[in-house]
């Protein structure tokens, strides 16, 4: 409180200093003070691939609304690995206990699944995250997470609409994909590099545009995205969406 009052009083005189103080105040707020904040911060490791809350969509991973009580591999509209579908057929249902085991070591819990996450070693972290997920997934609108995603993508959204309006040439996409599959395996196998097999078209396009616009920072991907035309992106998105993970 004192800080913000002081900042206000000085703004007219020394704008730089006031900005710094303002940032300091903002930072102070973002330090996790509660279990909820800690859970949200831990979700930072997941949100590159998963959305949660009202309006959440599938990205590289399925959205997590309604996850508790759902049979593994059954969220509508998401293309799961054969391993995840099999786990569901064998009776795996997501509850706090199963989810905790899964995120501890995803590759050991369901062998051959394609979630590109090493695991969360600390039991305490897993507990906090799952509590947070439980609250978010069952919560009605709230929705600030989904909102944030839109904000970061605001510049990108316009471009994305232009690309998505094009009908991607899958044959051309397959040729261009030669460049992608040197690292992103065509089988959907994940070993240090995320799978892009079967990813939804709109997510693919948005992610590539985020590389192109420096919102995402991986240098290899920024380079690949830099030279791509809208036609290239539409073709690649159509091609990868059409693939089924093995």
């Amino acid at each position: 409180m004192i800080k913000s009052v002081r900042a206000r009083s000085m703004r007219s005189q020394k704008s730089l200093l006031s900005t710094l103080l303002f940032l300091a105040a903002a930072l102070a707020v973002s330090v996790p003070a509660s279990a909820e904040d800690a859970g949200e911060e831990l979700f930072g490791q997941c949100k590159g691939c998963h959305e949660i809350g009202a309006g959440a969509k599938h990205k590289v991973g399925p959205h997590l609304d309604g996850i508790f009580g759902r049979t593994a591999g059954t969220s509508e509209g998401f293309k799961y690995s054969a391993a995840m579908k099999k786990a569901g057929e064998d009776g795996l249902k997501w509850d706090a206990e199963a989810l905790a085991k899964y995120i501890e070591k995803p590759r050991d819990f369901i062998k051959g699944n394609r979630m590109s996450f090493r695991g969360m070693a600390k039991e305490e972290d897993r507990k906090l995250l799952i509590e947070w997920l439980t609250a978010k997934a069952s919560e009605a609108p709230a929705a600030d997470t989904a909102h944030k995603v839109d904000d970061t993508g605001a510049t990108v959204r316009g471009f994305a609409d232009a690309v998505l309006a094009l009908e991607g040439d899958k044959e051309y996409g397959q040729y261009l994909a030669g460049e992608c599959v040197t690292c992103h395996q065509i089988t959907g196998q994940v070993e240090g590099i995320p799978s892009i097999v079967g990813v939804p078209r709109d997510y693919f396009v948005r992610a590539m545009l985020e590389f192109k616009n420096n919102i995402r920072t991986n240098e290899v991907m920024k380079l690949r995205a830099a030279n791509m035309t809208n036609e290239d992106l539409a073709a690649l998105a159509a091609y990868f969406e059409s693939l089924e993970p093995r």
């Binding site: 395996q185 240090g192 240098e219 380079l223 030279n227």
Partner: protein, 423 residues
């Protein structure tokens, strides 16, 4: 020596068996025939893409001297103790069983361009409609005075992965306190531009982790090298005082190497090493040269739109043997070029669609555990050659988390590219 002979014998046995299992008459079949010489990052990828994308309409034969392939990329990580040998050895089984490719284990001796036939060392003739030549590099032993193929059994080059790499590792592991390693680095152009310097890093890592107090000297014919600032920053940070790089303006040129005495003579001084790693100059694999596909500099000119040889329209040259403009000689580059060549081969034979050529490359190098760096580029045909359109390189002073994720990315790439080559 005994081991070496047995290996050779195995290769011969393999080739005889493979030839006997060939269809009685290759020519009698109606399908167009593609022969690929060389089963590395270029050749294996080309064979797989031609077979997979032609819906069984093209007969693909892959000629490769080895039963199994050892990748040069990541062989430095074997040297550093991060990978075992098995993890960089790959079989051709899936290319045969899943893609219907005929693997011939043997050496191509010559190419009859008039008759469109590859002559094998054992006398077999293999006809083709289109030929992809991907033999990689040959070592020019005498480009370093005093060095030879025999000398490489004492002072390994290890620039082709396999027994040479194992020999280098054994010698590295035997280095003790107070000893010295000398590398003679290769002149441009050569396979894997950052490779010698990643190797130096891996040698230093092995010595450091065992607490061995030894020195490494690099005698370089080049006045600068790939990722130089990144490597030198990393060496200062992780291996202070251990590595000394000496450029040509200081040593004045390599005059002679005596592998038995363990000496490298330069204008400046005679250096004594307990382990010599001599990496000579290189040229396109012998088959490309004997077939007249190379220019007087020893590498093969190509059309940048297609990777087609400028010497023969029925032949494509890809990978380290080709002159690929701004692209470095790397496994990634060869894999990228193979896809352009494969598309053009199918275009020639099946009249399938041919899109404009696009190429890409990324080279990752490991400096110390979890300290990875990378360099990459995108390329297109322009001004009669393959020309870089965009580039990037890791920055000095990057934080540890980024360097670690760069290393992890390289592991993902290794799995990816080997799956892309071998199915």
């Amino acid at each position: 020596m005994t081991k070496f002979t047995r290996r050779q014998f195995g290769v011969l046995m393999g080739s005889t068996a493979a030839v006997m299992s060939l269809p009685v008459s290759l020519r009698a079949q109606g399908k167009p025939k593609v022969v690929v010489i060389g089963g590395g990052a270029g050749g294996a990828t080309a064979a797989r893409y031609i077979a997979k994308d032609s819906a069984n309409e093209i007969d693909v034969t892959l000629i490769e001297a080895s039963e199994k392939y050892t990748t040069c990329f990541f062989s430095n990580l074997y040297l550093g103790g991060y990978r075992d040998m098995n993890s960089i050895v790959h079989s051709y089984d899936k290319l045969q069983s899943n893609y219907g490719i005929t693997k011939v284990t043997g050496r191509a001796k010559s190419i009859d361009k008039e008759k469109k036939t590859v002559m094998m060392e054992d006398g077999t003739a293999i006809p083709y409609d289109r030929l992809v030549v991907a033999p990689g590099i040959d070592i020019i032993y005498d480009s370093v005075p005093g060095y030879s193929e025999e000398a490489a059994e004492i002072a390994p080059h290890a620039w082709k992965a396999g027994p040479q790499t194992e020999l280098l590792k054994a010698k590295l592991d035997a280095i003790t306190n107070g000893q010295q390693i000398i590398m003679v680095a290769p002149p441009n152009p050569y396979r894997c531009p950052p490779g010698p310097y990643e190797r130096i890093s891996m040698m230093a890592h092995v010595l450091k982790s065992k607490g061995v107090d030894a020195k490494i000297i690099i005698l370089d014919p080049k006045d600068k090298f790939s990722k130089q600032a990144l490597f030198q920053e990393g060496w200062d940070k992780h291996y202070p005082g251990m590595i000394e790089w000496i450029g040509p303006d200081v040593h004045g040129g390599i005059k002679n190497v005596d592998v038995k005495a363990g000496t490298v003579e330069t204008d400046l001084d005679t250096f004594k090493g307990d382990l010599l790693n001599i990496i000579p100059a290189q040229r396109a694999g012998a088959i490309a040269i004997s077939a007249g596909l190379a220019n007087d500099k020893g590498f093969c000119p190509i059309d940048p739109e297609s990777m087609r040889s400028t010497m023969d329209p029925n032949i494509f040259v890809i990978g380290d043997a080709s002159i690929a403009g701004d692209m470095p000689k790397s496994g990634f580059s060869a894999n990228s070029q193979a896809k352009v060549a494969a598309m053009n081969v199918r275009g020639d034979l099946l009249k399938s669609k041919v899109f404009p050529a696009k190429y890409s490359n990324t080279c990752w190098s490991l400096i110390e555990s979890d300290d990875g760096v990378k360099v990459g580029g995108q390329y297109s045909p322009a001004d009669g050659k393959i020309t870089a359109t965009t580039n990037f390189i890791s920055q000095k002073g990057e934080d540890a988390a980024l360097r670690k994720s760069t290393y992890e990315e390289s592991i993902g790439w290794y799995s990816g590219i080997t799956a892309d080559m071998f199915g």
